[in-house]
């Protein structure tokens, strides 16, 4: 077994980020789009923590904390908006949001 280095973590982060982007592009349900954005944020957090560890710098971990705080507030506001939208239209698909079609 070879030693696990920074590159391993960056490759893992790339794979997770790609999975999240595929989710963002192919999902129509807004709730599942939110799940995909959580995957994106987590992928970046892994990269931050790995760089923080291998360079002996705490800044990466600090940024990961702020990313987590932003994710938490995004969920609170986003879910509130989704609930209001669902009460009005009975659906949270992206198709229902195209009301400005000319």
């Amino acid at each position: 077994m070879m030693e696990i280095g920074l590159n391993h973590y960056l490759v893992l982060s790339t794979i997770l980020f790609a999975i999240g982007l595929v989710g963002v592009m192919r999902r129509k349900n807004l709730l599942l789009l939110f799940f995909a954005t959580e995957i994106l944020l987590n992928a970046v957090n892994v990269a931050f923590a790995a760089i923080s560890h291998y360079y002996g710098d705490l800044t990466g971990q600090m940024f990961a904390f702020f990313v987590i705080a932003i994710a938490a507030s995004e969920v609170a506001v986003g879910l509130g908006l989704l609930i209001v939208w669902y009460k009005r239209h009975g659906s949270i698909d992206l198709d229902a949001l195209t009301t400005m079609k000319g």
């Binding site: 997770l16 595929v22 989710g23 592009m25 995957i39 992928a43 705490l58 987590i68 994710a71």
Partner: protein
């Protein structure tokens, strides 16, 4: 050796879980797989020596965010299958990979140019949690307070948006009152 085994195991598990999240047609499966993936991600933080970050990941993501999603899903009709966007699969996968590689290149640029300097190096003789506290409450105090204000604003927004008509109980109203409520607009 041990680290390598742990890394590959958790890498496989995380990728599998997140793959389920983006491919399954059941919203409940996606929710459970996402919660499991978040826990597996925290294992990487523990491997990397960021103990506090790992604990925060479990508490905030799995404890708060996923619980919030679970409660939110009770408002939506999640029993039916999720419709998918019909697009060119190769274009989607190609664009995603390209964008992900771009992100890693952005991360790797300072290392390639070699001018990376540890701004806040770890302090000898103290644990990770104490280091985090020392840096967070000296150099990052203002962002920390701003994050607190942002969370407060998000909480107020969540209550205002989702809490409309929460004081009404359908079981306690008679038919006429329910009809009257139905005719009103939800957002007034």
């Amino acid at each position: 050796m041990f680290e390598a085994v742990a890394f590959y195991l958790f890498a496989f598990l995380t990728i599998a879980m997140f793959f389920i999240v983006v491919t399954t047609s059941q919203a409940l499966f996606a929710l459970s797989a996402l919660a499991a993936g978040m826990i597996f991600i925290s294992a990487f933080f523990f491997i990397l020596g960021a103990d506090f970050l790992g604990a925060v990941q479990i508490i905030v993501y799995t404890g708060a965010v996923m619980a919030l999603y679970a409660f939110g899903m009770m408002f939506f009709d999640t029993t039916r299958d999720v419709k998918e966007k019909q697009g060119n699969k190769y274009i989607i996968v190609g664009l995603s990979t390209l964008a992900a590689v771009l992100v890693v290149v952005i991360f790797a640029m300072p290392m390639v140019s070699g001018n990376i300097v540890a701004l806040y190096p770890g302090i000898d003789g103290v644990g990770n949690t104490q280091e985090i506290g020392l840096v967070l409450f000296t150099k990052y105090l203002i962002p920390f307070e701003l994050a607190a204000i942002m969370l407060l604003v998000a909480m107020v927004a969540g209550i205002v948006l989702a809490g409309k008509k929460m004081d009404l109980s359908i079981t306690l109203m008679n038919e006429a009152e329910i009809e009257e409520e139905k005719n009103k607009k939800v957002l007034s």
